[in-house]
């Protein structure tokens, strides 16, 4: 294990170096700041316009949007992490040496989390500046949200890595990510839409279809990393400790299962350049 850890650290260091010198990380951080700034500005206008004197955790909603952007970056970057190396043949070369499937996958995973934390650090610096200039201040829930966001990012990253292990080309990985993410988001929107429908206004066949869709969604809830994101946001917003801990444990289990699946998929698909 100690030698594997040396390998993980070496690959992680290389990956981190590559991320720091690429634009992607900074573009994601900029988008995260811009999106949260827009939401933050809306809040300020609301406070001013409605003469609100007290507002609970005003930074949380902008933070959620920043987390979504950073987590999406984690998913996108991890979804090409393995296929990019396979496509270029560099993954094969790594395996000439003392590198195994688990060490490569863990190195990519940890590097993704580090990149996520860097984006969140930049976002927090921006939030600190905004909190000081507006006098809205930080609340403890901000810290809770940041901690939980790491678990959400781990779900996104492990999901992206698993998708990446299925393909051998960068382009295919990106297409697969778009299709799968689009599908999962579409199903979540469908779920929200179904919840707005009143059963008494529906025909019998429609109720039957709704039942099937609900069952599918119940399964997908465990598969989609977005469920952990929305559940996490709800847990922090509601201030529910049990939901918060449940979300964390769920995210850990999800990550372990997905990373294990990635190891087996990579073993099955192989590391050689096609």
């Amino acid at each position: 294990m100690s030698y594997r850890w040396t390998v993980i650290k070496s690959i992680m260091k290389r990956e981190a170096r590559s991320s720091f010198f690429s634009l992607g990380l900074y573009i994601a951080a900029t988008i995260a700041c811009l999106v949260s700034a827009f939401i933050f500005n809306t809040y300020i206008n609301t406070v001013e316009g409605n003469n609100i004197m007290v507002m609970a955790s005003p930074l949380n909603t902008p933070l959620f949007y920043a987390v979504i952007v950073a987590a999406l970056y984690a998913a996108i970057s991890s979804s090409t992490a393995l296929s990019r190396e396979k496509d270029r043949g560099t993954l094969e070369v790594l395996f000439y040496g003392p590198v195994d499937h688990l060490s490569v996958i863990l190195a990519k995973f940890f590097e993704d989390i580090i990149s996520f934390l860097i984006i969140m650090l930049l976002v927090t610096i921006y939030f600190a500046y905004a909190a000081i200039t507006t006098n809205l201040g930080f609340s403890i829930t901000y810290l809770y949200a940041i901690i939980l966001s790491i678990f959400i990012a781990s779900c996104m990253s492990s999901f992206g890595l698993w998708l990446s292990s299925l393909t051998a080309r960068i382009r295919t990985s990106i297409l697969l990510l778009i299709v799968v993410m689009g599908g999962l988001l579409g199903l979540q929107f469908l779920q929200n839409y179904i919840l707005t429908l009143k059963p008494e206004n529906l025909s019998l066949s429609m109720v039957y279809i709704m039942g099937i869709v609900s069952n599918i969604l119940r399964v997908i809830k465990w598969v989609s990393p977005f469920s952990y994101l929305t559940d996490g946001i709800n847990a922090v917003a509601l201030g529910s400790v049990s939901m918060y801990i449940e979300n964390m444990i769920g995210a850990i289990i999800y990550t372990v299962v997905l990373l294990t699946a990635t190891v087996y998929t990579l073993k099955w698909k192989g590391v050689r350049k096609l």
Binding site: T6, R14, T90, F95, Y96, V99, R272, K273
Partner: protein, 315 residues
């Protein structure tokens, strides 16, 4: 160093490697020959654990790879035909990365020493994407030597290189072998393998069709031996008598010398000397013409596969 026993790799309908049993001994250069698609790279990938064998056994340093994966891999250096480098890294950064992976102590000294050796020290800060094919191949060698491996596995190491590059790589292989490293080298460039290998295994269509020293391989493959004779005082009558000898298949004259093709069952040079002396000829030179590995390879792969496979050509 490497031992495979009845190694097989099957892809749906294609059998890439069939019943391969080879043994690479410590300190030797083992040439693994065969035309493209013979199963050489598949075998190497199985030895490295990158491909899983369908059946059979592989031992590296007398151990199963997975009994000590990291330990065994740290004792092996690999150079492939194409280097697949991280083109956004400089040579120094790239080698430093692999030093970290192999946990090399004094990595700066090690990298500098090896870069000096391949004449790339002055280019150490250049991006690998700007390197020529030959330079990339050298970097591949440096990478493979960073961990002072006991075993070097080279997959088509000179393929695509110009003559100077080929010579440099050949010298490097010989030098590393003289330092005690065992070399397992696959190639389809026969002259290269012939020049440096102690033993050769020849693959064709997934099967090992021959494995032996160069000399024995040539012996096995020759049904006749060519002997050059330079004789004075040798007339047409003498030529006819030479041709009529029971062990002589044919006699031709080339550039004033006689090329005598004799049976390969024994060394007939003594008999020829006695014959020339008996008829009063003046023998100036007698020389056995060696069969090149290229000739042997073509003979094996195109003509004698069935003989080798069925064991009719025995040691």
């Amino acid at each position: 160093m490497i031992r495979t026993e009845n190694l097989c790799k099957k892809y749906e309908k294609v059998e890439a490697v069939k019943d391969l049993s080879i043994s690479v001994e410590p300190g030797e250069i083992y040439g693994f020959l065969g035309p493209n698609g013979a199963g050489k790279t598949t075998t190497i990938m199985m030895i490295l654990g990158i491909l899983k064998p369908t059946s059979g056994k592989i031992l590296v340093f007398n151990k199963d790879l997975y009994s000590d994966y990291f330990g065994i891999k740290r004792r092996v250096g690999v150079v492939s035909e194409v280097q697949y480098l991280y083109e956004d890294m400089t040579a120094y950064e790239y080698l430093s990365f692999f030093c970290d992976i192999y946990n090399v102590k004094n990595k700066k000294e090690k990298i500098e020493e090896l870069l000096h050796k391949v004449d790339l020290y002055d280019r150490k800060d250049d991006l690998l994407g700007h390197y020529s094919r030959g330079m990339q191949q050298k970097i591949g060698f440096v990478r493979a030597l960073l961990n002072d491996p006991e075993l070097l596995i080279l997959d088509e190491p000179v393929s695509g290189l110009d003559p100077t590059g080929i010579r440099e790589v050949r010298d490097l292989i010989l030098e590393e072998n003289q330092r005690g490293r065992t070399v397992f080298m696959s190639s389809h460039i026969l002259s290269e393998v012939e020049r440096i290998s102690h033993r050769v295994g020849i693959m064709n269509k997934g099967r090992l069709v021959a494995e032996d020293t160069m000399e024995n391989l040539r012996k096995k493959l020759s049904s006749e031996v060519e002997i050059e004779l330079e004789v004075d005082n040798f007339d047409v009558e003498a030529e006819k008598r030479l041709e009529s000898l029971s062990f002589v298949n044919s006699v031709t004259k080339e550039d004033g010398k006689y090329l005598v093709r004799v049976k390969a069952d024994k060394d007939y040079r003594g008999d020829l000397v006695n014959f020339v002396s008996a008829i009063g000829g003046n023998l100036k030179e007698i020389r056995k013409r060696e069969m090149s590995l290229e000739d042997a390879f073509i003979t094996i792969t195109e003509k004698n596969i069935s003989l080798f496979s069925s064991g009719e050509v025995s040691e």
